[in-house]
Symmetry: C2
Subunit: 502 residues, 2 copies
Amino acid sequence: MHKNRIQCPDLLGKVISAQEAANFITKGMVIGTSGFTKAADSKAVLQALADRTLNENLAITLLSGASLGHDIDGHLAENNILAKRMPFQSDPVLRKHINSGEVLFIDQHLSETAELIDNKHLPEIDIAIVEVAKINEDGSLVLTTSVGNSATFIARAKKVILEVNLSIPTSIQGIHDIYYLQEHPIRTAIPITESHTRIGTDFVPLDISKVIGVVFTDLPDSPALVALPDEKTKAIAKHLIDFLQNEVKAGRLSKNLLPLQAGIGKIANAILEGFIESDFSDLTMYSEVLQDSTFDLIDAGKVSFASASSITVSAECYERIFNNFDFYRDKILLRPQAISNAAEVIRRLGVIAINTAIDCDIYGNVNSTHLCGSKIMNGIGGSGDFARNAYLSIFVTPSISKEDRISHIVPMVAHVDHSEHDVDIIVTEHGLADLRGLAPTERAIEIIENCSHPIYKPHLKDYFQRACENGGQTPHLLKEAFDWYIQYMETGSMQALVEIEA
Amino acid sequence: MHKNRIQCPDLLGKVISAQEAANFITKGMVIGTSGFTKAADSKAVLQALADRTLNENLAITLLSGASLGHDIDGHLAENNILAKRMPFQSDPVLRKHINSGEVLFIDQHLSETAELIDNKHLPEIDIAIVEVAKINEDGSLVLTTSVGNSATFIARAKKVILEVNLSIPTSIQGIHDIYYLQEHPIRTAIPITESHTRIGTDFVPLDISKVIGVVFTDLPDSPALVALPDEKTKAIAKHLIDFLQNEVKAGRLSKNLLPLQAGIGKIANAILEGFIESDFSDLTMYSEVLQDSTFDLIDAGKVSFASASSITVSAECYERIFNNFDFYRDKILLRPQAISNAAEVIRRLGVIAINTAIDCDIYGNVNSTHLCGSKIMNGIGGSGDFARNAYLSIFVTPSISKEDRISHIVPMVAHVDHSEHDVDIIVTEHGLADLRGLAPTERAIEIIENCSHPIYKPHLKDYFQRACENGGQTPHLLKEAFDWYIQYMETGSMQALVEIEA
Ligand SMILES: CC(C)(COP(=O)(O)OP(=O)(O)OC[C@H]1O[C@@H](n2cnc3c(N)ncnc32)[C@H](O)[C@@H]1OP(=O)(O)O)[C@@H](O)C(=O)NCCC(=O)NCCS
Ligand SMILES: CC(C)(COP(=O)(O)OP(=O)(O)OC[C@H]1O[C@@H](n2cnc3c(N)ncnc32)[C@H](O)[C@@H]1OP(=O)(O)O)[C@@H](O)C(=O)NCCC(=O)NCCS
């Protein structure tokens, strides 16, 4: 019965099947589950829940750290189990259900969910379902590949279900740093001053009387889909690294820069790979997710320490990490997302934040979440936590996609996640726009000239020039500001507009 | 020669006229001036500069704390002296010059300007012009009615001009708390844990070798225009206070709430006056500006301590404060704006932030800066610093204005300063929308039902319902999202649209 995994005698008798555990979940409940960018999600209980007969219309509210793996969000949505979902998702099936209005999605800054629970600004959590590697003798818990909101869910939920994952080596103990924000009005500073500062415990305390079931699993995390660097991402990486090298030359940064954050997504990962070839050394990361690129940079001797809330890597990298865990153990730390994404720490450390935009406009307002203003892609995730508080807030995006049918630089974004105030640098494969110290009309010239694709550039210039004729701090032509999106929705291409106009 | 005002012997010989001081300012210079929401601005040197002959085309870049008084921004703009202005302004004449494209305006989060200077992300400051009450024997400075960015300007500028204001009693010494953010990567926490925590000195250190002139003035600050509470602001205050009283009943807040912030503007001030009649007691403020309402609340025994970056009050209140300074002295503190508006402190203290919106949309995205998407009003000021990090982020606005020609609730705002993620509560005279824990489509119903004006409500409902037919997380009809603004610009009223549609 895996006594090395359940060292707390009182909990040995709580072992049940996933199906039995899932049966505790009843109509309208609020569930908090582990799982952050596919790492350490519930692999048994939520799956069993999804497998329960249809038509129960359970209408649960599901909170997580961030996105879940194993298509579980999709299964839950398809089986009509979700009423509300927060704070992040990236499942194509769930996305469809959200955009059709069947599931309500609350898109939150990832730093804030735990705060909102603590402040009782969200409904009370009925059951927490949390993956663990091990239960210590006193009932305290060793987490697995992410922390996310798990510590808060465990502390605040009325009842707790634990999923002991046998595929995670118990040697993982030690890489977590569990810390709780104190309550208002007696909160003190989060005492992190460097990426590696330890401020908490390597376990999550547990009131064992809340445990209603312990379930075993042995499924590994869903592997991350890693895109190899291609011409576009290599060009973006080059522009960015040239820029940072110039900052070093200008004396604004030293050779080890400041702690890096890199957002989720194929592009950010591919760009980080570019740092392997750079002159920088002794780099650190204060980020949200550790992707393959982080471990490649550690292996290359470029990154000396990386702090985040989860490890989300390919199957190959996953093997490499756990086969060489003693090598990586003292170079990484996983924190609650309220800490990995804390405004106060990001600003204090001076993080250099690199996130991917869905698109951005000529003034540097960035959309990270919506397609054509209405349909959600994933969610804001931690992009706002980092972009607002970073020492440098960088957004990367290809200049075009779907061949050339979409321009990622548009006259006006139809959804704003990050306003011009929070965006310092925009990079596409064509170049880099350095927006520091520029007024909106100067920003427009810099962005259009350096970042837009040649086939869209004349049309962006034309829009900007005609808008300027009407004046304003941020000149716009409201009658045509969204024409590019409208054309795309009607014809499948923004090019159509360009051709008509030409 | 006012030896009690200039106690540093080396600086006695530096006394010059305002005109002589202004002559130090040459083409293309970057100037940093004291002044925050009209308090402690340069009253002699910048005025003398504005009076210099026209056609010199000085093209200076002017940084301040926030807005300046004495119409100085307008005079400088009219006399063609400004090329660039940051981080805030509220002058009607300068506004015209910005919107016509003659002056470039960089609209910044007020917390960030000092950071950007420290990080060298802005050009170096040639001359700092700072109002002081007194120069101590060692050259250190006692500031007057605001701190703003003055301490940073003094520390970073190549040269310094001081304006000793004889109208400010030297007894003001003691209400300032000067603290500098440390540089990356060795920064530690800002050690404030309560509104009244003192962390610095009551003077600004000065390298006296940088001083190129000391000028005397005796002009008081421009008085704030205080609007008395009217039917609308009384109704808004009532909705807000009822809401907070319910939060106390629900056990989420105690009777002294959490520290309050109230934005600039007539509405916020009038609303705070409403707290005088409330049941709350022992309130504190951690804000940006102390307006008349703060002192009225102190007098009424409702507020026990108020921290901010400036005192901006009516002439009557100004007199009252300085005639009773011993009473107020230990109840107020003025901090650099990098500290009064620091994300880390606002989140740690759990500030309840009350700011005014120009308008907001049915999903709760807020515009604080632009009229109809292009023309700037004032600037984002500290609204983003507070809204993002607050325990509760509240925006107030009248439901309509210009009789009924403008609806302040619109289908889609044409400029986003605060996205739905950063807005918890919206209040108009018609009611309060509590958006906590709601998805966008739920937010829309709450906002339209509770906040919109009856003449616009059916049309907002109609837009929302038709948008929902197309689906999406945030349903919009891009072809008509801005029609209300377009109608207003073309006909002078949004009502025109409503009538046409009806
Ligand atoms: C922005 C984000 C979706 C980019 O991720 P990515 O893996 O680089 O990009 P993806 O390929 O998954 O998605 C972009 C897709 O949207 C499409 N797209 C972009 N703009 C579009 C538009 N206006 N209309 C329709 N589709 C559009 C792209 O063409 C691309 O589709 P494709 O893959 O079929 O070519 C992702 O980074 C994200 O969700 N960010 C928000 C959260 C975040 O930034 N967190 C940071 C802290 S971890
Ligand atoms: C938003 C803000 C301008 C409101 O200030 P206020 O004193 O309450 O309002 P004002 O009367 O000065 O300005 C609003 C004007 O814009 C007009 N207006 C609003 N929406 C408009 C629109 N869509 N088109 C044209 N005019 C519009 C109003 O009718 C009003 O004009 P009026 O005075 O002629 O009736 C002010 O609070 C501000 O600048 N905020 C940004 C900075 C900030 O919030 N700082 C907070 C920390 S201190």
